[in-house]
């Protein structure tokens, strides 16, 4: 595994079946996850059902992303020109190291030894916090969940609710024990009421916001024509980071660019309903370069490749880059529901992680990442839920074949055996697998009830070597039974 990719996959991660095995033994994690995924899933269905033209919006979303990917070079140049014209500075980073170096130099130039951060998967991917720490700069995560994870010295377990593996009493204990070490301590009478815990976080972080000189953010969207960058959030910590410090550094994957400002009309409808299942998230910030007298007077946009251009090269895997990180596919996934995000051993968990992670690090370079495409039952629920119509099941099948190809000559078990092993670990017994698949398929049907049925693409072959056709719609078990009989 090349050095620059280590953060996409957490170093030393066991392969999926082994990690899943541990996760499954954690009863609390499983209960929390089930509660979270079920609740968000039901809410999302209601939010989506409110829009009669959901399928049309999804289609437009996927087409816009398709346009971006096919002309990514052009849009990035346009974005660079617009941001520069608006007073921002654009940097290009090929990999995690390069991006981290740019951030560190910028922070140093400001003479700062601390930065505030709004949750960003791109900066997690490049391991920015660790890189900053190695250079003597303290990065404070300001999302409540990220703060919990950071204070606990944990890994996040969900894109949207990263601390879902922790219950309120644990959070209270973490706050009591850790907050004082990093700033304003938790009050002595801290209870485990969510409201009280949120208030403790508010006070702890407020002090940091008020004195922070530099903020680091990610970006949900960036419009090539105007240079406008968008951050979608709930808590207001994003607004704090984007508004109060003198310098703002935004690290953005190159795939996040949108052709035009007007395209926000599609994504600002798709994202909130798919993500937090709201009509609109509490806060969305849009800014264009630098505005005199309002907000940061220095704005740096770092365009990060880190495996994305390589992902683009695979026509069948390319659309993994369409992802808008809503986490809907996680919440509908029967495998994710049972194992949680950390079993995926990657910044990107769940169905999207299973297709994005191996591509970002490169198929055949990490045993762990290579095990991820097998962590699925191919039930299709993720495709039905995805607001930009990424055909994850089909991509999984494609990547399984690629993994097997990459390991040709090694004594790797057959793909069916790998997939079966993952399934057996996750579901324990064939009966439970059957139930999970029925639920998954059912969820899919409900989600797609207004015309969103998942239609299989042109018949896909498993690989040339293994000529067992795998219609993606077929459930894992049916497929396995048939395949096993050959």
């Amino acid at each position: 595994m090349s050095d620059e990719k280590v953060n996409v996959v957490w170093l030393g991660s066991p392969t999926f079946p082994n990690a899943a095995h541990d996760a499954l033994r954690d009863g609390q994690l499983r209960r929390n996850l089930k509660h979270a995924t079920t609740t968000i899933r039901d809410k999302r269905l209601r939010a989506v059902a409110e829009l009669d033209d959901w399928e049309t919006l999804r289609l437009a979303g996927s087409q816009i992303k398709d346009r971006v990917m096919r002309h990514l070079d052009e849009y990035l140049l346009r974005l660079e020109a617009s941001v520069t014209a608006a007073g921002g500075v654009v940097h290009w980073a090929e990999d995690a190291d390069a991006a981290n170096r740019i951030v560190i130099e910028l922070v140093r130039a400001k003479g700062a030894d601390e930065v505030v951060k709004i949750k960003s998967m791109a900066t997690q991917e490049i391991g920015l916090n660790e890189a900053l720490a190695a250079d003597g700069v303290t990065a404070t995560e300001t999302d409540l969940a990220e703060l919990i994870v950071q204070l606990a010295g944990d890994r996040p377990s969900h894109i949207l609710v990263p601390a879902i593996h922790r219950n309120r009493t644990e959070i209270r204990d973490i706050f009591r024990r850790e907050m004082g070490k990093y700033g304003v301590a938790a009050p002595d009478d801290l209870t485990d009421e969510p409201r009280v815990l949120a208030e403790a976080a508010r006070l702890h972080l407020r002090e940091k916001f008020l004195r922070a000189k530099v903020a680091v953010s990610g970006a949900n969207f960036a419009c090539a024509d105007t240079g406008t960058v968008a951050v979608v959030e709930s808590e207001g910590n994003g607004r704090m980071c984007l508004t109060l410090p003198e310098t703002l550094i935004t690290v953005m994957g190159i795939e996040k660019v949108l052709p035009a400002f007007a395209d926000l009309e599609v994504f600002l409808q798709l994202l909130p309903r798919s993500s937090t299942a709201e009509r609109m998230n509490p806060y969305t910030s849009l800014w264009t370069g630098v505005t005199p007298g309002d907000g940061p007077q220095e704005f740096h946009l770092i365009l990060l490749d880190n495996g994305r251009s390589a992902t683009l090269a695979d026509r069948q895997g390319r659309s993994a880059l369409h992802c808008i990180r809503c986490s809907a596919c996680l919440n509908v996934c029967p495998v994710y529901e049972r194992t949680g995000g950390r079993s995926y051993g990657s910044v990107y968990p769940g169905p999207i992680g299973a297709v994005l992670t191996p591509q970002l690090v490169g198929v055949g370079t990490s045993k762990h990442a290579d095990s991820l495409p097998f962590a699925s039952t191919l039930c299709g629920a993720c495709y039905d839920a995805c607001p930009v119509r990424i055909d994850i099941p089909e991509m999984l099948v494609h990547l399984r074949a690629k993994v097997v190809d990459a390991h040709r000559g090694e004594k790797l078990p057959a793909p069916e055996a790998l997939a079966m092993k993952a399934a057996r670990v996750v579901f324990g017994s064939p009966r439970r697998l059957a139930v999970a698949e029925r639920l998954g398929a059912l969820g899919g049907r409900i989600a797609g009830i207004r015309g969103g049925r998942w239609l299989p693409g042109p018949a896909k072959k498993w690989t040339a070597a293994r000529d067992v056709p795998v219609p993606p719609r077929e459930s894992f078990r049916t497929w396995w039974r048939k395949a096993g009989r050959r």
Partner: protein, 214 residues
């Protein structure tokens, strides 16, 4: 600083990755079907705005213009606001009934001063009915972004004529180079056991005063 060698390499990698895209293809040639609805709002748009803003547990009061000063004073008194941030361009005549102290942003207030205030009153750029959203764009009477963020209470005055039906109309109405904030209810988190808590970092209270335009 901008690393032009890195830029060239990334662009070259992208171009070689896109070997399957015909050279003659222009971005506009990739079809985008825009036959989604321009608005999902039907009937009484202003009524829908009120309902949807309230769904987020924000308050909405509808008043005729003549009653605005009295209503502002009433809301601020009820909320115990004695130290109010008033952005430049906010109509003076609307604050005649409020008798607490005012913090003007001229010269600019420090973050600590904003933090020590009780609340802020602002105008808005737009409202979006379907999503119950208020859009601020730092225009007159709205102030720079920090003003509507740091104080713990935000009283926002919106005119009925500013309310648009749905997101597409709002995006069209925006001026991209203005710093813009969509506000849909008070800040919220569900990070602890999915229990929704209102108010983490932004104003914990959002009160909307809807001025009925004649």
């Amino acid at each position: 600083m901008t690393g032009s060698a890195a830029k060239d390499r990334i662009l070259a990698d992208i171009r070689s990755a896109l070997h399957d895209v015909p050279r003659a293809e222009r971005a506009e040639d990739v079809a985008v079907t825009r036959d989604y609805l321009d608005s999902h709002a039907t009937g009484d748009v202003v009524g829908l705005f009120v309902e949807r803003v309230r769904d987020y547990r924000a308050t909405v009061t509808r008043v005729p213009e003549a009653e605005v000063p009295a209503e502002i004073a009433r809301i601020l008194a009820e909320r115990g606001v004695r130290n109010l941030v008033v952005p430049p361009g906010f109509p003076r005549e609307w604050l005649t009934a409020y008798d607490g102290s005012r913090l003007t942003d001229d010269p600019p207030l420090t973050a600590a001063e904003l933090d020590a205030s009780d609340g802020v009153v602002t105008l808005a750029a737009r409202g979006v009915a379907l999503t119950g959203t208020i859009v601020l764009d730092a225009g007159p009477g709205q102030g720079r972004r920090a003003l509507s963020l740091v104080p713990d209470l935000h009283l926002c005055v919106v005119r009925t004529s500013q309310v648009l039906p749905d997101v597409p109309a709002a995006v069209r109405a925006l001026v991209p180079d203005r710093p813009t904030t969509f506000i849909s209810g008070p800040s919220a988190t569900s990070d602890i056991e999915l229990d929704r808590v209102e108010g983490v970092h932004g104003p914990r209270t959002l009160d909307v005063l809807l001025v009925v335009d004649s």
